[in-house]
Amino acid sequence: RRLSRLSLSSLPPQSLHLVAPIWNLGTSGIRGLSSAVTPEGNQRKGRMLLQFLTDRFYDVEALRGYLFQKQVSKVHKENRSSTGIKKRYGPYIAGAYFVLKQGGAVKFQGKEWIRSTEHGYSPLQLLSFQAVPIEAVDASDCAINYEGLDNLLALKELQSLLLQRCPHVDDWCLSRLHQLASSLQELSLAGCPRISERGLACLHHLQNLRRLDISDLPAVSNPGLTQILVEEMLPRCEVLGAEWARGLKLGPEQQSRDTASPIPA
């Protein structure tokens, strides 16, 4: 019975999309996902009522399933790769357009940061940068996912990629980043809720990486140990992350000593 809950024949079978982990109907948007982890009192009551209704009425269940699928397809639509723009104006314009549409910021080589929220930004202004490669992308808090990463992977001179607090960036996305291995020097994954140590293992292809930020990853099981292993994996990279000592239990005689002194791995 549980298997039949999402059998909607309206969705084409070929569409494979990444899911929006939003389980309460619209009460928190994509940007506010981190607050949904600890719900407040009213939200919890509302959610329990919804759960109660869903368990007892097929209509409520079907409606919630339908709304959920709509959210999924919304994320997919936002991550469509604009092949038309890519063909006409080249990969840099296409990548910049994609990032700015999602709400991020882009920095062309030799120019200043262009943010979508800034006053006076217009897409037409991008056309002047047709042959200028992009060197930095800030896609923090954007709904970029596995398919949307296509647009960024075409930017062969990308040096800095910031993916902080992106709710749909997960281990699979990290396994694609090896295509940027030749140019990427800075990567930030702080606060992404779906990245675990298994995804971080794929970063060993990025041999040119010099700065990596893996702080505040809730899905990583053992942050201190993971940081040590990542540092071993990428010896030339400076890894910012959790305090390595956080996962360790101190013995009684060590508790008075300063915990910040590193022990060689």
Binding site: R2, L3, S4, R5, L6, S7, S9, P13, L16, H17, L18, V19, P21, W23, R47, L50, Q51, T54, E61, R64, G65, F68, V72, Y146, D171, W172, L174, S175, S196, E197, R198, G199, L200, A201, C202, H204, A219, S221, N222, L225, T226, L229, V230, E232, M233
Partner: protein, 452 residues
């Protein structure tokens, strides 16, 4: 006379009011007589105590459209896709039957869990590609509203296959086929391999690849002999630890019983006939025991370890963050262990697995085996590839088995293919016509060269 009537009435009244209130010589005789008469009547009448409305909620239903024999990953995958692809919601009733709900011997739970796209058969590559996509988007397929998102704990570190001089040419042609089908595989020379993974000893490695459905009641064979087609009408499902059984009337039976598919097929009468004929062609799937060892090596390769398969057939992968590894090796035909039980042979590790591992990864020369277990491959003795689709004679038995060690990694795609075959009558997305049962009778082997 009047007194006689009064006496009779008084006597009857006493009997009617309650025999227990009167203590005396006469009434105990009467109760005993009544109970004796009751016993006599019960022994004379047939049947036990009359209980027309007993609870059958623990038994399977009496009718079902599809009965899937085997509740492992393949059986459940077929069930899932049947319900997902059915046109009106709730159209098909599916019953999944498994003899062990703890899955203690099921290959699904005991599998090492590697997924690769480096096969030589295009169908296998397509199946793996879709299964990887399915796992990546598993929350879209299997999500339930109000439950937390699923985490399959997948390690996207890639699969590394090594080839010696003799296997290098085959590997190159395989990689060509894989690239044609859309798999992302790259070939590496020993120097590149050494650069990428400094803990490998590339001695002996020449090349490495790294990467990420009939209805007529009579049928005549070419010689003009008549054949009868059979139909399965009922599946008798016997309950665990009891004599109860429920005959489930069904339209289709799907054989997804894994290592025991051969036995289930024999129950349906497949293979009972003179050898060399279609009736006499058995389902060539039998259980083969494989060992998996779990060891700890503090100096072993780090976080970037892919799933590595050596030229000798030994394979391993990283497990967790504590320098633990899982691995094993497939024995040769002569060394096949007896599949009667799931006992582990630790000498096999010492003699056959460890030398190869230590040769390939020098750090593994000092390791400590923490635990080991054994599981079954549903080994297809004919050509080590799966069997999918209906049986030509028993027209309503479909197979989804025989994947010989790569069933888990192809399960979502195979489930979808079988569901399409059942619902639409033909394969819609991936064409698996080369994996039908008839190839066993016709002798056409569909060989897969990259079996681990």
């Amino acid at each position: 006379m009047f007194r006689g009537v009064l006496w009779l009435l008084a006597g009857r009244g006493c009997v009617g009011r309650g025999l227990s209130t009167r203590s005396g010589g006469s009434t105990p005789d009467w109760t005993e007589k009544v109970s004796e008469i009751k016993k006599k009547i019960q022994s004379a009448l047939p049947g036990g105590p009359w209980d027309p409305l007993y609870d059958t909620s623990h038994l399977p239903p009496e009718h079902s459209d599809v009965v899937i024999v085997g509740g492992g990953v393949l059986g459940l995958s077929v069930a899932y896709w049947l319900k997902r692809l059915e046109k009106p919601r709730g159209a098909i009733k599916v019953l999944v039957v498994d003899r062990d709900h703890t899955y203690s011997q099921a290959s699904t739970g005991l599998s090492v869990g590697g997924i690769r796209q480096q096969f030589s058969l295009p169908e296998n590559i397509q199946l793996s590609l879709f299964s990887v996509d399915f796992l990546r988007n598993i929350n879209e397929y299997l999500a339930v509203v109000d439950d937390p998102p699923l985490d399959v704990q997948f390690n996207p570190s890639g699969y590394l296959l090594l080839a010696s001089e003799k296997g290098a040419a085959i590997m190159e042609s395989n990689v060509k086929v894989q690239r044609q089908e859309g798999a992302k595989v790259c070939l590496m020379s020993p120097e590149q391999l050494q650069n990428k993974f400094p803990w490998i000893n590339t001695d002996g490695v020449a090349l490495a690849s790294y990467g990420f459905s009939m209805s007529s009641s009579r049928m005549q064979t070419s010689s003009g002999k008549e054949m009868t087609l059979k139909r399965i009408h009922e599946v008798h499902v016997k309950m665990d630890h009891s004599l109860e059984y429920q005959p489930v009337e069904c339209a289709l039976v799907i054989n997804a019983a894994g290592a025991w598919s051969g036995q289930v097929a024999e129950l349906a009468g497949i293979g009972k006939g003179p050898p060399g004929t279609l009736e006499g062609t058995k389902l060539p799937v039998e259980p083969r025991k494989r060992y998996v060892y779990f060891w700890h090596c503090p100096e072993g390769p780090g976080l970037e370890t892919p799933f590595m398969a050596d030229t000798s057939g030994a394979y391993f992968r990283r497990e967790g963050l504590g320098h633990n590894y899982l691995g094993g090796c497939s024995p040769t035909e002569e060394e096949e262990p007896d599949p009667g039980n799931l006992e582990v042979d630790h000498d096999f590790f010492q003699d056959k697995v460890w030398p190869h591992l230590a040769h390939r990864v020098p750090a593994f020369q000092s390791l400590k085996v923490r635990s080991a277990w054994a599981g079954y491959y549903d080994y297809n003795t004919f050509d080590q590839n799966g069997v999918v689709g209906p049986h030509p004679l028993v027209v309503n038995m479909y197979f989804a088995t025989g994947f010989s060690g790569h069933g888990l990694q192809q399960a979502p795609a195979v489930g979808r293919a079988v569901a399409e075959l059942v619902l639409e009558g033909q394969f819609q997305t991936i064409n698996l016509s080369s994996l039908l049962f008839s190839r066993f009778y016709l002798g056409e082997k569909v060989e897969e060269r990259n079996i681990i």
